[in-house]
């Protein structure tokens, strides 16, 4: 049944709805539309609609860029999840006061300025910086090795920045987990590691997927991190978008790249949504049979 909207509802809804429609929905639609406009010789926005701008993305240069972006984001996501699982497990089992303290400690850096955190790593990895000096002192690396301006530095700083996004959903699910299941497995002869891998991880699948999306999405759109600690060999889509927009002023091409970025994010998210729906309906069917 359709209820007609009351005056009060419209009054309450209109301000935020109108604001977000104007300053979020319309701009996003413009980005997708401009990707199908031609570029004038001065790099301005052309008159006609065309697939040419989108077509420019299908050359080896951009394909490498996309592959690298996805690869660096995937590595970041895997490292974050690998760290978040034991941390989430430990937090769920720790005594309440210690747990609250640790949670606070994990959240605080995440609230502090994003640029300052990147700067902290930049000065640590700097040739005259702390880490470089120590590693060289112990002869782990030689004097010529540069720790900055490469893909390793980009992944390191991305892990540093996005780790809380990985830990929090896994902790939230782990705190509701029935740990007797692990005890039961160990009574039946499983080692602690086996119980962790065969029971804890599969039962937390949902939370792990959420954590993976929360890390992967900002990583794939990263721009400042590769810009400040990466080099030319670790450029990501975000850097290209900024370069095409702010330096080259080729707005249609920047829009086409942004559309591509949007699609790269939407695809895994939709796939997971679809997968979740499927497994949900599967569970419902099973229940129906019983």
């Amino acid at each position: 049944m359709r209820k007609s909207l009351s005056k009060a509802e419209i009054l309450l809804t209109l301000p935020s709805f109108g604001w977000l429609f104007t300053f979020f929905f319309v701009p996003t639609a413009i980005v997708f539309a401009l990707g199908f406009k031609s570029t004038t010789s001065q790099g301005g926005i052309g008159e006609q609609w065309t697939l040419e701008t989108m077509g420019k993305l299908f050359n080896i240069h951009y394909l490498v860029l996309i592959a690298r972006t996805v690869y660096l984001s995937a590595v970041t996501t895997i490292i974050c999840i690998a760290l978040a699982l034991p941390v989430g497990y430990y937090l769920a089992r720790a005594p309440v006061r210690l747990r609250n303290l640790l949670l606070m400690l994990i959240i605080v850096p995440f609230w502090s300025s994003f640029l300052i955190r990147i700067f902290a790593w930049k000065s640590l990895l700097h040739p005259e910086g702390f880490i470089k000096q120590w590693l060289a002192y112990f002869h782990i690396i030689n004097d010529e090795t540069t720790l900055l301006y490469n893909s390793g530095a980009v992944v390191l700083v991305m892990v540093y920045t996005y780790l809380p996004f990985g830990i929090l959903p896994i902790y939230a699910a782990a705190s509701k987990f029935n740990f007797h299941l692990l005890e039961a497995a160990m009574d039946l002869g499983a080692t602690r590691m086996q119980a962790f891998i065969k029971i804890f991880i599969p039962l937390l699948k949902q939370a792990i997927l959420t954590a993976a999306i929360l890390v992967f999405v900002p990583a794939i759109g990263a721009y400042v991190i590769p810009d400040l600690v990466g080099g030319t060999q670790s450029e990501m889509i975000g850097n290209k978008i900024a370069q095409k927009t702010l330096l080259d002023r080729n707005l249609p091409l920047a829009s086409a790249l942004s559309t591509l970025l949007g699609v790269t994010i939407a695809l895994p998210a939709l796939a997971i949504l679809y997968f979740q729906k499927k497994s949900k309906s599967y569970i419902l069917e099973k229940k129906g049979i019983e």
Binding site: Y90, P109, K122, Y223
Partner: protein
Amino acid sequence: MKVGKIPFCVTLLVIAFLYIPIVILIINSFNESQFSGNFTAFSLKWYKKLISEKAMWEALTNSLIIGFFATLISVVLGTLAALAIYNYKSNLQKIHLSFIYTPLIVPDILMGIGLLLFFILLNIKLGLFTVFLAHTTFCVSYVTMVILAKLQNFDYSLIEAARDLGASHFQVFRKILVPLLSPAIAAGALLSFTLSIDDFVITFFVAGKGAVTLPIYIYSLVKFGSTPIINALSFIMLTLTFIVIFTSERLLNKKT
């Protein structure tokens, strides 16, 4: 059952990983030498230098102005949005809610380029005003989420009881909703102020040449002349952040 040593060790390592860069940064803000590798002598010279930096004060003023107005408008919009979504379960509210949370998922850079194109097409001059519009846009979503979370935990029968006892809509709003929601509203305001003060990516796209905010100022220092005055600035900002988090935790966890 014992918890096992590996998870404990990983947790300790993660905490160390999170804090070592920050601690070294703070130590270095008091370091006489320019480089973090060796601590030569304790000194406040970077703080003195920071205070005499005119561009920093200008950027700080811009950030505070934008933060203030973006917070003000986004708190009003966010509170109304949360009340609408909580009160009405219509299809309109489903779309409304998706409008609220999509900006939270979309990467900053997409939002930045979208707003830039929007302003260019409408011939709106880039500057403090466009930065304010952009900041308000992403702050609305966060404020709404904080207030909505509070509303969902709250006992609706209170409102029904008040209505049964003859309170008008306005009285319910004034005497029940406002006092119950004010901690969440304050926490939402603190959150949006912090987000506005900290935003770099979106600001970088919509600021144009004139409007230098604090993060844009820090970025140019980091990118071009990485002088240790950033260490000093970082320590001041970290301290302020701690105070803000502490206050907002207090506000949200206070028993009502």
